[in-house]
């Protein structure tokens, strides 16, 4: 595999578990440096297996993965100190305080300077807003606090890459905002952030790039703008004459028409269509138009179009 500037790069990455179940099939993923990369996919699509292979926890059946330009899992000792990770939720020693949990994780890193350890732990705790609860036993933490402590563990060192699996899980709306702000701040400092989430609007709000997985395969990857654009925009017409409107729009090639009271929504045809002409046609046929316009396709539309599956947006 040729070295590129990518923060994460996989070629034909495949994992078949004992028992024959194919979890990840021939994954070619490229996460550009400096990007905030959203990793999407329904439950069981192979996201977590992929992340575990990237972090050297699972041996790939075939294929190769490079993290920060170095092969994994071979270069784990030199690469992983530069990578912060939150994998499938936080895991803590419930009999230790929040601070002692971080001290232990930091002690496990052979490149971590013990002289700066207490200071780095304190600043990581402050960064996720746990400064005041640092002395509490982790078993007394709420789910949101545990999630924050897991994030703090990923921030014990300046990292080049952060791998965050569902980082806002269990957080209240205020906590989610804080985490999004933190991700933007880290990205602003030049850290590449690899973010898996099932909250599509979250990905849309913070990510520059995204990839979609389904059934172990990569369906698409690119910038968020490209992905959203790949799904055509939707036309929305508000009118007291919905029946006539549906007829006229159908004649002009608008598909998937749905009527909701006085609102008609449909997919614009693939061939470019001058919207002004469409509006004129409606008026010509005597349809009284109160509002007319296109709704920008969201990532959710793109996602549903790609995976053919519903997605729990509300989480």
């Amino acid at each position: 595999m040729e070295e590129t500037g990518a923060a994460v790069e996989t070629r034909g990455l495949t994992k078949r578990y004992r028992g024959g179940q194919l979890a990840v099939a021939g994954l070619d993923l490229t996460v550009p440096r400096g990007s905030v990369f959203g990793f999407l996919g329904p439950n069981g699509s192979g996201k977590t297996t992929t992340i575990r292979m990237l972090m050297g926890l699972i041996e790939p059946t075939s294929g190769a993965a490079r993290l920060l330009g170095e092969p994994m899992p071979r270069a784990a000792r030199s690469v992983l100190p530069r990578v912060g990770a939150l994998i499938e939720g936080p895991a803590l020693y419930s009999h230790l305080t929040g601070r002692d949990n971080l001290l232990r994780y930091d002690a496990a890193d052979p490149t971590a300077d013990p002289r700066t350890r207490p200071a780095r732990v304190a600043s990581a705790l402050d960064r996720v807003g746990l400064g005041a609860a640092a002395g509490k036993k982790a078993r007394a933490y709420s789910l949101g606090m545990k999630q924050r402590l897991g994030l703090a563990a990923a921030l014990l060192q300046p990292r080049e890459l952060l791998v965050l699996d569902e980082p806002t899980n269990g957080l209240d709306p205020q906590g989610m905002r804080e985490i999004r702000a933190l991700v933007r701040e880290l990205a602003g400092e030049g850290t590449t952030v690899f973010l898996s989430s099932h909250l599509l609007d979250e990905i849309e709000q913070v990510c520059t790039h995204a990839a979609v997985m389904a059934q172990g395969k990569l369906i698409t990857q690119g910038t968020v703008a490209e992905l959203a654009a790949s799904s055509r925009g939707r036309l929305s017409v508000t009118t007291p004459d919905p029946v006539d409107a549906v007829r006229v729009l159908k004649e002009h090639g608008v598909t998937d028409l749905v009527t909701l009271d006085e609102r008609v929504v449909g997919e614009l045809p693939q061939t470019p269509l001058e919207l002004a002409d469409l509006n004129a046609a409606l008026v010509r046929e005597g349809v009284r138009v109160r509002a007319f316009g296109t709704e920008r396709a969201s990532l959710e539309d793109a996602f549903v179009a790609l995976t053919g599956e519903g997605f729990d947006v509300a989480g």
């Binding site: 992983l80 530069r82 020693y93 009999h95 230790l96 002690a107 496990a108 490149t111």
Partner: protein, 302 residues
């Protein structure tokens, strides 16, 4: 921070931090403090330390009428467990009696709990994956776990021995020690031998400790690993008492455990002591390698 001004597709920002040999020891220290700060560990040590106290009190009560242990129903009845009869004459024998009483069951069970939980416990709480991506390094983490379990073997044995000595000194007279072979040595010499006995007992536990760590690498359930290890202790003890199976007896890890008593002879009778240490070394080598092979190749899915 220079990271802030690097643009999007920038070159690596933070310099690769070198790992220092001395810094890698932090994991070992962290492992020891994490193990010994756990309530479960302290409770196990507390139970072990209570055994000599109970034995001491029981012997004191039974002999308060001036008799000796085991004489209750007249000569023919079964003899008292090893060393019990000497306790009233010399408190230091409470150390040997307590070690002889705890070595077959209590000590290996406690080791089984700590060793069985070592890797599997981290796996079931999920902390294993974070230690490995820290990155602790699989071999280093395994060595740190071994170190902590061995340290527990030593501390657990010392808990019994020290509690035995303290209780013995409190309840019974101390003085010159009459060895099994009939020779009498000074109390100082007796103390040295007691220390040697404690060391041998701790080393006797190496086999079950290594076996426990290996079992711990096989599963993601701490409870299952603990139960299996403790179950193996009991099974080995039972097999060791079945005469028809004498062919396998020399290979069972508890077989030579009570050989520590040979240190209390003058001259010391080394044969079984050496056999015991060789057997423990064999278990450590075999199951240590097995744990290494298993743990370094394992997919961490928990």
């Amino acid at each position: 921070m220079s990271r802030a001004e690097t643009g999007a597709p920038a070159a690596p920002v933070a310099a690769v931090r070198p790992s220092r040999p001395l810094w890698t020891l932090a994991l070992f220290r962290s492992e020891l403090t994490t193990t010994f700060r756990r309530w479960r560990t302290l409770a196990l040590l507390g139970v072990l330390a209570a055994v000599p106290v109970l034995i001491g009190i029981a012997v004191k009560i039974e002999t308060s009428d001036g008799g000796t242990v085991g004489q209750g129903g007249g000569g023919g009845e079964g003899e008292a467990p090893a060393f019990f009869s000497q306790i009233t004459n010399n408190g230091i024998f409470l150390v040997f009696a307590a070690l002889a009483a705890t070595l077959p069951v209590f000590l290996p069970m406690a080791i089984g709990v700590i060793a069985g939980d070592s890797i599997a416990g981290e796996a079931s709480s999920g902390t294993l994956r974070y230690l490995l991506v820290a990155p602790a390094g699989r071999i280093r983490l395994l060595l740190a776990k071994f170190t902590a379990v061995m340290a527990f073997c030593l501390v657990a044995t010392l808990a019994v021995a020290v509690s035995g000595l303290a209780t013995g000194a409190l309840l019974f007279p101390l003085g010159d020690v009459t060895l099994i072979s009939g020779t009498t040595v000074s109390f100082g010499d007796g103390l040295v031998r007691a220390l040697g006995v404690a060391a041998v007992v701790a080393l006797s536990l190496v086999g079950i400790a290594t076996l426990g760590v290996f079992i711990s690498t096989l599963t993601n359930s701490g409870i299952a690993a603990m139960a299996t290890t403790v179950g193996l202790v009991i099974t080995a003890q039972i097999l060791d008492t079945i005469p028809q199976l004498h062919g396998i007896h020399p290979y069972l890890f508890p077989h030579y455990w009570l050989s520590f008593a040979d240190l209390l002879r003058a001259p010391v009778y080394w044969d079984d002591l050496v056999k015991n240490l060789e057997l423990q070394g064999l278990y450590a080598a075999v199951f240590g390698s097995a744990a290494w092979a298993r743990f370094t190749a394992k997919d961490i899915t928990a």
